[in-house]
Point group: C2
Chain length 139, copies 2
DNA sequence: GTAGATGCAAAGTATTTGCGACAAG
DNA sequence: CTTGTCGCAAATACTTTGCATCTAC
């Protein structure tokens, strides 16, 4: 297990408050890429007085500090997930909304190659696959 | 040159109005993936009485009819481009905002493979590369 | 003639911000 | 202490919608 979000805050000089600790904990424990609203609801169960403005401010701060990463999948709201060393992309089930994380080194390599071909150095990228489950036999 | 947007409207049973014709023409002539605001400004120069609501309604209609496609690049507003037979992805210059369109068959193939590996059939995807121009000298 | 399109302004969402009170270092 | 954070409500940005009028077919 790598550094916790709290440790990352310390090492990056981000001041820790009760609210930030709560949000950090929730994000660490979430595997479902929550949007701000969901995150706010979860945080409210721990601290009913927390404000949605604080949640917005915190995810933005954490994103700028490289602690969280923001996704803008189809359908509006921004969703967040903890940023760890291993980069991955997302396969989204268009029926259920379920998200599968995957890594494909070959695609990564090809992306760099494409950028290079046009005279660019890749600094970031976004790859989202949208699919429907194939019924191999039942289910 | 393939079908014009007006022809597509006819063949898809989309009623043509002056406003739609104006928007269709602007989109056909645009190579810069305009957002609704930019499109509205361009349309206003042709018909100063056009409403932004009509622009929103029209791009949505055209998108649903498979005439335009919507992109949600980083930084907020939805941007549109005409949809032609050839699919392509985008390489965005993070400094200038310039957009380069590219196609990489190999990446396309790998995406399908990844989806399949997880038991999915790919119905859509989004690939955006963000890069900085490399000075041919160094790097 | 009629169903559907338009313009306008009002209403929705998602997100940000000003400000006085408050808490972390 | 002092600087930055919090909660609140108001503000903003983007997009959608109700309604009366108008227009394409």
């Amino acid at each position: 297990m790598s550094e916790t979000i709290e440790q990352k805050c310390l090492s990056k000089g981000v001041k820790l408050t009760d609210q930030r600790r709560i949000i950090a904990k929730i994000m660490s424990e979430s595997t479902d890429h929550p949007d701000v609203d969901v995150l706010y609801k979860r945080a409210s169960q721990v601290d009913s007085k927390i404000s949605i403005a604080t949640v917005y401010r915190t995810v933005k701060l954490f994103e700028e500090s490289g602690i969280l990463t923001k996704h803008e999948f189809k359908g509006g709201k921004a969703r967040y997930e903890e940023l760890n060393e291993g980069h991955h992309d997302h396969l989204i089930d268009v029926k259920t909304g379920e998200i599968i994380e995957f890594v494909d080194e070959e695609i990564e390599k090809l992306q760099k190659k494409v950028a290079k071909k046009y005279g660019y150095k890749l600094v970031d990228h976004k790859l989202e696959l949208y699919g429907v489950k194939v019924n191999s036999e039942n289910e």
